[in-house]
């Protein structure tokens, strides 16, 4: 029986080029290209590596978003995923993390109803537009799956049952053993994502678009009105002043110069 992997992915505005409207405090999305969220790309890559290595592995990418997010699923399939599922419905628009994870939970349950239980669910740590890092863990809770976040190294046993991951911490890492089925969230250190391939770009694309009714979700649990949190204010943080390099040929001289400068500014 196939080993079934689900990857949760999000289409996000490319934050390298995005700006915030200072008057309204909202993101200026006009003309900003949409991309596959970086951490989700790492999640997909790890799933595809399993598919490359073992036979009979399927990779399904699940996303929630506007209809144009199908383009991101196109990209995921062009990289090697088998199918894409997009949950797109005005009823789920404006969802916060809680309402989003309700939606994705319902979509995954629906998918499992049709295809059998997923063996492994990957997500990115967080999306570059919201930076909450909440949706992955919430999905795992709601699906009652064990989870490990911030995965920077991944190894799976040949019977595809035992996984060992290295979980990044601020000052080190944890080495954790976990059994499938489970949910993992990926960070960029996990791998180097592949490009799309030409054959993938021109190959068959299995992209399904589901609405709220299709995933049989409780409409009181999704969308803007059902969201317990909302954005109070967005702002561009003031850029930090550039650092200053302390000159000096030797360490002693540098220390001396630093001392002179600090004293000169009455800091010490």
């Amino acid at each position: 029986m196939a080993f079934k992997i689900i990857v949760c992915a999000k289409q996000v505005p490319d934050t390298n080029v995005i700006k915030i409207n200072p008057a309204t405090g909202t993101l200026i999305r006009d003309g900003v290209p949409s991309i596959l969220n970086h951490d989700d790309n790492n999640a997909l890559e790890e799933a595809l590596k399993i598919k490359d290595k073992y036979e009979d592995v399927t990779v399904t990418v699940v996303s929630m978003g506007p209809p144009q997010a199908a383009d991101m699923l196109f990209e995921c399939i062009a990289k090697g995923a088998d199918e894409g599922i997009l949950v797109s419905d005005r009823a789920v628009g404006g969802s916060d993390t809680w309402a989003t994870s309700n939606t994705l939970e319902a979509a995954i349950r629906k998918w499992e109803k049709l295809n059998g239980p997923a063996d492994l669910i990957f997500a990115g740590r967080q999306a570059i537009d919201g930076d909450t890092a909440q949706v992955g863990p919430q999905i795992a809770e709601k699906l009652d799956l064990p989870q490990v976040t911030y995965v920077e190294e991944f190894e799976i046993s040949d019977d595809l049952k035992e996984i060992t991951v290295k979980r990044q911490l601020e000052d080190g890492y944890e080495l954790i053993g976990i059994k499938t089925p489970c949910m993992l969230t990926a960070i960029k250190e996990l791998n180097e994502p592949r490009y799309m391939s030409m054959a993938g770009i021109f190959g068959k694309k299995d992209i399904k678009v589901w609405n709220a009714a299709d995933i049989e979700v409780d409409l009181n649990k999704v969308g803007l009105l059902a969201s317990p949190t909302n954005v109070y204010r967005s702002f561009t943080p003031a850029p930090k002043a550039p650092g200053q390099k302390v000159a000096g040929d030797t360490e002693n001289e540098q220390a001396k110069n630093l001392l002179v400068q600090l004293k000169g500014k009455h800091i010490i």
Binding site: D71, F74, E75, A78, Y195, M196, S197, M198, A199, G200, I201, F202, G203
Partner: protein, 380 residues
Amino acid sequence: MNFQLTKEQEFVRKMVREFAVNEVEPLAADIDKEHRFPVETVEKMAKYGLLGVPFPTQYGGAGGDHISYAITVEELSRVCASTGVICSAHTSLCCWPIFNWGNEEQKMKYLPDLLSGKKLGAFGLTEPNAGTDASGQQTRAELVGDKWILNGAKVFITNGGYADVFVVMAMTDKKKGNHGISAFIVEKGDVGFSIGKTEDKMGICASSTTELIFQNCEIPADRLLGQVGDGFKVAMSTLDGGRIGIASQALGIAQGAFDVTVEYMNARKQFGKKLSQFQALQFQMADLKTKIEAARLLIYRAADMKDKHMNYGEAAAMAKLFAAETAMEVTTKCVQYHGGYGYTKDYPVERMMRDAKITEIYEGTSEVQRMVIAGKTFKK
């Protein structure tokens, strides 16, 4: 009429742009300086299917179209024209004639390895005394028993030093002139076949341009491509398609030079203003941008006609003529707008200007393109 790229074509651009910026651009200045053929890049292009874009999947191709192929060469050439021509010569000049003129056995024997990039291809038509006048072929092929024996030499062969499969023209019946030329598939390692001198060129320095030498080169009879006497047709039809590739290379060079110049003009200040704030320069750049876009449309049209099996020879000649001359004009002016810095190797426009020149020469000089277009205009 439809001027929109398909979703697939847009994703080809996105994919090749990412690939080119990450894998090709960082090497471009070094391989130019060292005159080094980027073997590692060819392997990566193979891995992602960039060496078999416009061919059906049954032969190991990506199942793409010729606009996607044009975009591929364009995006590679935007950062490195040498890498662009490796892809173009392989695809247009070796894979295509085998795909179009080969019999089923030849296609199944050669295309899967070529299209997957396991093997690299090249094309041999030009000789020391048969350049634009390709009919003056002196390389001879004689059928002796069940073998063809080739004697002669080819020059200026792109990918020469690194190719595994060569499509080579040779005279089988001198009396018949053009109709006496035949096409053959020669493999690296064939007895009597060797690579001669590698050219030291002005531009596309990382591309391997070599002589091919045939000294009683023996190849089996089944290496004949097409029928005896088809060679000139094979060569001319191949070059029609090759012109789309070289036009795309020229387009990529022009776009690359333009893009880095826009960036430079936004950063460089003189007389208290950014260069981009001088209207004289703005207008010049507006003209260049317009010409680049016109070249792009001519190329995509020719590629589209090829996909639709229309007669696209004149369209390809126009595309190649215009794109090559645009590349030369754009790169020359972009060097000028960079001032002294543009003349140094610290900025890529210097390399791009040297690379642009070849697009006015190979796969038919600009004069040949005008002959093709005039020939269609004043048809007897």
